[in-house]
């Protein structure tokens, strides 16, 4: 290729494996998954959708605190986590509760976290996750540090971290990618580009051709993937994980996706989105699309969907009950959680609350 003093970025096209009709259109990239694994991916997506619907209702009833809806993003969330080992680490952003629950965080703790109970974040031993990060982009750096830890201990594990298209504008995002490039770290940075940072559209987020292009400046691999296609997401993360485990460094994955609901429980999507746009994206619904594929293979039916929905509803009911009956945290307990040993001034402040 001829050299040029001007830097060019080529146009990128997202990796897709399934057509919206559920047909394999990219046999070459088809991941090697057993029938049971394919069914498990579907089960998890249906479960997550049902849990999301229930969580929105629970939020309206005042039984959950802050909750960020996930419907529409299941292929990215479920598919990416499914490509990891249990020993790999997950550093989520605020919307990424499904990934850490599928990675091992008990569901009732997710509910406790939403309700502001400290035990929500008391992750069980052996579950390699952090709780959702509220400061946009801060988790990118934690993942970078965790990845460096894996590398220093010669463990063949990877870290995955998530943010949104808005998060890719943060300084921490660039700093993290840059560190990962310099130290060649086994990290996977997933940007779930759902088109909006709360209400600000992607066109006002960056003038770059894509989020994936931002990998170029950091000297890491960058890929773009159809985030409504669970097989494509799985494949992209599997490839990235393999590179990480082989010492080939970090990958930035831009996943093009869409949230069917508002950013949180409060914003009005009609103020910033059109019905036409929502309609177009609903045609790409990851559950319908993957369901059609599985049905064509005789692996899934409406009865299976109904069964998983019932299972999810029962599970949510059980776990919200467990969250609601967990003893409330106390101010005294909170004070004692600030330091390993509670210093004298805090001991004295604690006396006012006992």
């Amino acid at each position: 290729m001829n050299k040029s003093y001007e830097v060019y970025a080529q146009e990128v096209e997202p990796l897709s494996i399934l057509s919206p009709e559920g047909k394999i259109i990219n046999e070459e990239e088809m991941p090697n998954l057993s029938d049971d694994q394919l069914k498990e991916l579907m089960r998890r997506m249906v479960f997550t959708r049902t849990w999301d619907e229930r969580a929105v209702n629970l939020g309206r009833q005042g039984r959950l605190g802050f909750y960020a809806p996930v419907s529409g993003q299941e292929a990215t969330m479920v598919g990416s986590e499914f490509a990891l080992n249990k020993e790999d680490f997950v550093c989520p952003g605020y919307r990424d509760m499904p990934q850490i629950v599928w990675h091992g965080l008990p569901l009732y703790q997710a509910f406790l976290y939403s309700r502001g109970h400290q035990h929500g974040g008391q992750i069980p031993e052996g579950v390699n996750v952090l709780m959702p990060q509220i400061i946009i982009g801060a988790q990118i750096l934690h993942a970078t540090g965790v990845a460096m830890g894996f590398k220093k201990r010669n463990q063949k594990n990877v870290v995955i971290t998530y943010t949104g298209d808005g998060g890719s504008s943060e300084g921490d995002f660039y700093e993290g990618l840059n560190f990962a490039g310099v130290f060649k770290l086994p990290a996977i940075y997933v940007v779930q580009n759902n088109g909006y940072a709360i209400t600000t559209p992607f066109s006002k987020q960056t003038a770059a051709q894509s989020v994936a292009h931002k990998a170029v400046a950091a000297g890491i691999k960058g890929v773009q993937v159809d985030g409504m296609d669970v097989l494509a997401v799985y494949k992209a993360v599997q490839d990235a994980a393999e590179r990480g485990r082989n010492g080939e460094g970090a990958t930035l994955i831009e996943s093009l996706t869409y949230r069917f609901r508002p950013h949180s429980m409060a914003d009005d999507t009609t103020k910033y989105r059109t019905k036409e746009e929502e309609g177009e994206w609903s045609l790409k619904d990851p559950i319908i699309r993957f369901g059609k594929y599985l049905e064509s293979k005789g692996l899934w039916s409406d009865e299976d969907t109904a069964r998983v929905k019932d299972e999810a509803k029962a599970s949510v009911a059980e776990h919200i009950k467990k969250a609601e009956t967990t003893e409330k945290m106390t101010v005294a307990g909170l004070i004692d959680s600030m330091f390993e040993e509670t210093p004298q001034h805090l001991q004295e402040q604690k006396a006012d609350f006992s």
Partner: protein
Amino acid sequence: MAQMNMKEAIRDGMRVELKRDPNVLLFGEDVGKVGGVFRATEGLQNEFSEDRVFDTPLAESAIGGLAVGLAVQGFRPIAEIQFVGFIYEALDQMAVQAARLRYRSGGRYNAPITFRTPFGGGVKAAELHTDALEGLLVQTPGIKVVVPSNPYDAKGLMISAIRDNDPVFFMEHLNLYHAFRSEVPEGEYTVPIGKANVVKEGSDVTIITYGMMVHTSLKAAEEIEKTKGVKVEVIDLRTLMPLDIDTIVESIKKTNRAIVVQEAQKTSGVAAEVIAQINEKAILHLEAPVLRVAPPDTVYPFAQIEDAWLPNPARIIDGLNKVLDF
């Protein structure tokens, strides 16, 4: 026993811990080959390899965030922020992420991180290289703040900071790095975090201070003792969070008068907190209001007028006279 200046003592403290515990890592901008812009880490990369002591890209937030991620993985990072004025870039990672990790995880994770930063005026450094920002950190729940004033304390406090299972913000006064040498034991010893030091005993008035101002206050004490015939007690706080209020109260009970001297701007800082706690615990022992001797609430005027802006012995003596003559 070896004679060391404060910089060498700090370096020796880090060396002791790097040697003792393979989980201790040291990183920041320029800390590796060259040993830091003040040479505080000189020789450590050579001794412990680039795997343990390493340069990072120039990005303060990432240095802080890297430390948090490594802490989650069981390491004990020593993260250097090259100059104090640059900590604003890293405040989210220090004051929000590291300081909240224990709370957020219900105790599952902790952040045994030592954030080191040079600070302190009187050296005619560039803008935003010397400001006293300890008050920002002291008001942050979950982080400890340490400011040594001499080589012995610096090494012992550094070892305590690295061994502490909570984040410690360790502030190294630029004016004290090379100011003087004193005896520092070789090998391991600790100076406890949260314990003040009565550096000079007296009976008539107490000066409560820390860092470089310990030395400025001692000068002032010596002068006023000559001219006025009073005995001044000087307390070096050594740790600003947690604050050793017991040592302060003991002193107030003896002297009944006090001033607080700090290099940071006057309002809402460490001195204000010390006085608030004296009010809560020892007001009936006071014969005069406790005064602050501190710079005005302006930006730090680097270089040209910093000597006039910073507390000096004359201003400290003025403060002492006010409480003595009240």
